[in-house]
């Protein structure tokens, strides 16, 4: 069993405490917006916020997330109002297949929270997610656009 707080809701989940947080989010909490890409913290598709910071949930056991505030892509918007990163993503038409984009958006939102006006170097250092469709040019433009919003 694990007690997790995801997107403001506290859930008691029937899950082995060693299970990666990613799989508890997807399979026990039923929130499938957070993606499995590699399972070894290389690609970033599984990025969520833990107390506001971007983490790769595929290598974090649920036990380490208990008592912390977890935000997934489903909880990023404020009700029907898009987060400024989502809005910039929409305006800049960033996603292609979209599979990596949940993680990319969560990484960008965490970056902007910490550095509201990131430089290109900040983006290079902090956005390390893999996108096989190659949306990077639009990702960079959208992060700068969100910073101005």
């Amino acid at each position: 069993m694990a007690r997790l707080t995801i997107n403001g809701k506290t859930l008691d989940l029937n899950v082995d405490p060693t299970t990666p947080l990613l799989w508890a989010i997807r399979e026990q909490a039923g929130l499938t917006g957070t993606k499995y890409g590699c399972g070894i913290a290389q690609c970033g598709a599984c990025t969520v916020h833990l107390d506001g910071a971007a983490i790769r949930s595929c290598v974090m056991p649920v036990s380490a997330a208990e008592g912390k505030k977890i935000t997934t892509i489903e909880g990023l918007a404020n009700g029907s109002t898009l987060h400024k990163v989502q809005k910039a993503w929409l305006d800049n038409q960033v996603p292609q297949c979209g599979y990596c984009q949940s993680g990319m958006i969560m990484a960008a939102a965490a970056l902007l929270r910490e550095k509201p006006k990131p430089t290109d170097a900040d983006i290079d250092a902090r956005i390390t997610n893999i996108c096989r469709c190659g949306t990077f040019q639009q990702v960079r433009e959208a992060i700068h656009a969100a910073a101005k919003a």
């Binding site: 993606k35 070894i40 292609q96 599979y99 996108c131 190659g134 949306t135």
Partner: protein, 724 residues
């Protein structure tokens, strides 16, 4: 290994088994019986459903996997339909419906950059026919001549009286009319929607986690499966000890899948994966265990000088011309196996009973997934159905190959009535790809005493994709796909005229299964040809652009894109300090593409790509903003390949297991890409793939300009070169 070829025979048998009475299509009158969508709305043509609230549902037969074809195809239908674009939605017809309706939507296959270029005519006709029927229905209702009525923005107007009616009000009546035989299409100069960078129709759900990919499927009572196939291609399962994991949490069943794989089925996927990792499996690896990258390279090397080869392009007498040349050069290049590695690993969900088999799968080809379902289930077409689910990338892996569908059905057959979702680990995905073919190339050039190129011989040695995937497409044993970009004419025509030319292929196949990797054979062919062009120009002390131009006088479209990138990049003018330029051009998938790369190099080995100027003439540009994204995206895929990616073979299996040893470009390595979309009209070229091939040779030629070093074996990481 479980191999599922696109089994056309079983598909055709399945198709004919369906009752003919259900057949309906664009050209067959519907009569009074209206075909209805699931919600009861009338279908005006196979492509267009209109709801009473004026919502327009456009059917899309091809698969959206990020490339934007869903939006582009909808634009094509809507252009002729004259509907309100803000009311357009899309849906996929199912392969089962297609069989029942004699392929009313044509080909489902989404590969070879064919989505729009192959279907543009009939999807526009589907929209035009619907518009004509809607106008006719309104004219009938008003009892006025149809010629007095017109349609725009989903509203039909009777000009003399000013009466109007919306599409939703007459759709029911329109659906009962006989479709016109050959609806006339607009002149391209009158297009309002085609050519416009409208926003994609499928973005919002990709921003909030709502977009459901195959890996995300949930259904009542569903179980989850994880699988291991024999790591050595062609090997088999010898034994496994199911009892060792039977009592692990959530485990429901351990099943053998075909003769080469074992799967664990559990309540959750993580439980299935955990138990599979603990399951002792003994493999019978078979004779392929002896094969390694070194043995494969030796085999290809032998082909470079072999007497026998398939000839695809020949004029003059190359051997004599080279023998008598005043100056000669030669070079050998080598391109590795590569995995597609789409972000979403392979998966499929299947539910089987003796009376029905259903599959939910992210696929580039619903019909091929359907064929795999029939073959694996053993059921006829009218007892099977495939539902296409969103793809987390395809790049060719999910088109001609449905090994994961076969596996899912074989698992589901052992648990009748229970839906089972099979999801591969990334490791399974890396070990069981359909790899970019391995290829070497030896090039010879001869020049006369005035430094004119008189002879060029390109000898390819390596794998044929079609020999494995579609042997019926071979021509007297030759694989024509091997020569993409090097043919005398057609969609993959070479852009140079050389007095004595020979391009041939010594086919050397391996046990590693080849596949269609984004761009397919243009990736290596463009490197071989365009880097050697650069080598030849330098060998005779000529500017690489001017050297090419002399050979391109009979290839004006190739030349136009090359000139466009050279002009935009400022070729011939000084580059910024420390920045060096390189060029490449190619024709592929019906489009003419070129690139000029600008790089800077530190310590002789750290390459920073400052900028790539790219141009494409794809004939018609349906959505320029999406084309720009395909150009930049294809560069990420192609440059990741040439810098970072190689699948090596040891003891018969692929050594790379995940993104830690099979890396992919990140944002910090992304160059600025400036796209020139320059459609010249009169033909339909592809978009998703063509540009992929010009980034790598342009960058390699720029690296030579910067360092004087010519790297001919890839990926570059093996030569100590990094992309920064």
């Amino acid at each position: 290994m479980i191999t599922t070829k696109l089994n056309r025979r079983s598909f055709v048998i399945g198709s004919t088994a369906v009752g003919a009475g259900l057949a309906l299509g664009l050209k067959i009158p519907f009569g009074a019986s209206v075909v209805r969508a699931q919600d009861g709305s009338p279908e005006v043509t196979a492509w267009v459903v209109i709801r009473p609230d004026d919502t327009v549902v456009i059917r899309i037969a091809r698969s959206e996997m990020g490339q934007g074809t869903l939006t582009g195809l909808a634009q094509m239908v809507a252009e002729e339909l004259e509907c309100d674009w803000s009311k357009v939605k899309t849906e996929y017809p199912t392969p089962g419906q297609s069989v029942k309706r004699k392929r009313a939507w044509g080909d489902f296959s989404t590969g070879g950059s064919r989505g729009i270029r192959d279907s543009n005519q009939y999807v526009r006709e589907g929209g035009a026919a619907a518009r004509m029927m809607l106008i006719q229905a309104a004219a009938n209702q008003w009892n006025v001549p149809v010629g007095e009525c017109s349609a725009a923005n989903s509203v039909i107007t009777h000009k003399p009286s000013g009466r109007t009616v919306t599409y939703g009000k007459v759709a029911e009546a329109a659906a009962k009319l006989t479709p016109p035989e050959k609806p006339a299409l607009k002149d391209p100069k009158d297009w309002k929607l085609i050519g416009k960078s409208v926003k994609r129709l499928d973005t919002m759900d990709k921003l909030n986690g709502a977009h459901v990919y195959g890996a995300d499927l949930k259904m009542p009572g569903m179980l989850n499966a994880a699988i291991k196939d024999c790591p050595v291609f062609g090997g088999k399962v010898k034994s496994y000890e199911a009892a060792k994991v039977a009592s692990m949490p959530g485990v429901k069943q351990v099943v053998q899948v075909g003769d080469s794989a074992v799967a664990v089925v559990a309540e959750t996927w993580w439980q299935a994966k955990t138990a599979l990792d603990a399951l002792p499996i003994v493999w019978d690896e078979g004779p392929n265990k002896q094969v390694s990258s070194a043995t494969i390279a030796e085999m290809l090397k032998e082909g470079l000088d072999a007497d026998q080869a398939f000839v695809a392009n020949r004029n003059g007498d190359v051997k004599a011309a080279i023998a008598s040349a005043a100056k000669k050069i030669e070079a050998v290049y080598a391109y590795p196996f590569q995995n597609h590695a789409p972000m979403e690993p392979m998966n499929a969900t299947a539910k089987y009973t003796p009376d029905r088999c259903e599959v939910w799968v992210p696929t580039q080809n619903g019909e091929a997934a359907f064929a795999a379902t029939l073959a694996a289930s053993g059921l006829p077409a009218d007892k099977c159905e495939v539902y296409k689910i969103n793809l987390g990338g395809g790049f060719g892996r999910r088109g001609a190959f449905h090994d994961y569908v076969t596996q899912a059905v074989l698992i589901a057959k052992q648990m009748p009535g229970t839906p089972v979702k099979l999801l591969w680990t990334r490791e399974e995905d890396m070990l069981h790809g359909r790899y970019h073919p391995v290829m070497q190339c030896k090039l010879f050039a001869g020049f006369d005493s005035s430094n004119n190129l008189t002879a060029l011989h390109m000898r390819l040695s390596g794998q044929s994709i079609l020999t494995v995937v579609r042997p019926e497409a071979l021509k007297d044993g030759m694989d024509p796909l091997t020569f993409q970009g090097l043919n005398p004419s057609g969609d993959f025509a070479i852009g140079y005229s050389v007095p004595n030319l020979l391009i041939d292929h010594a086919m050397r196949n391996t046990h590693v299964p080849p596949g269609f990797w984004r761009g397919v054979n243009i990736n290596q062919n463009a490197i071989f040809l365009e880097c050697f062009m650069d080598e030849m120009a330098h060998a005779v002390g000529q500017d690489p652009l001017e050297f090419r131009r002399k050979l391109m006088t009979k290839h004006p479209k190739h030349l136009a894109v090359l000139n466009a990138v050279a002009d935009r990049a400022g070729w011939g003018k000084p580059a910024p300090k420390g920045v060096y330029r390189g060029l490449a051009q190619m024709m592929s998938f019906g489009s003419y593409v070129a690139a000029c790369a600008e790089v800077s190099v530190t310590d002789g080995s750290k390459i920073k790509i400052q900028r790539i100027v790219a141009a494409t003439d794809c004939g018609y540009a349906v959505n320029p903003a999406q084309i720009e994204r395909q150009i930049a995206g294809s560069f990420v895929y192609g440059l990741s390949g040439v810098f970072l990616q190689e699948c090596t073979v040891k003891d018969g299996h692929i050594e790379q297991t995940n993104f830690n040893n099979y890396d992919s470009m990140r944002i910090k390595q992304m160059p600025k890409v400036e796209s020139i979309v320059m459609p010249s009209g009169g033909f339909w070229g592809g978009v998703g793939e063509p540009t992929i091939c010009v980034a790598a040779p342009a960058v390699l030629n720029a690296y030579f300009a910067a360092t004087g070093k010519r790297i001919r074996t890839y990926p570059l990481k093996n030569q100590g070169i990094t992309l920064v």
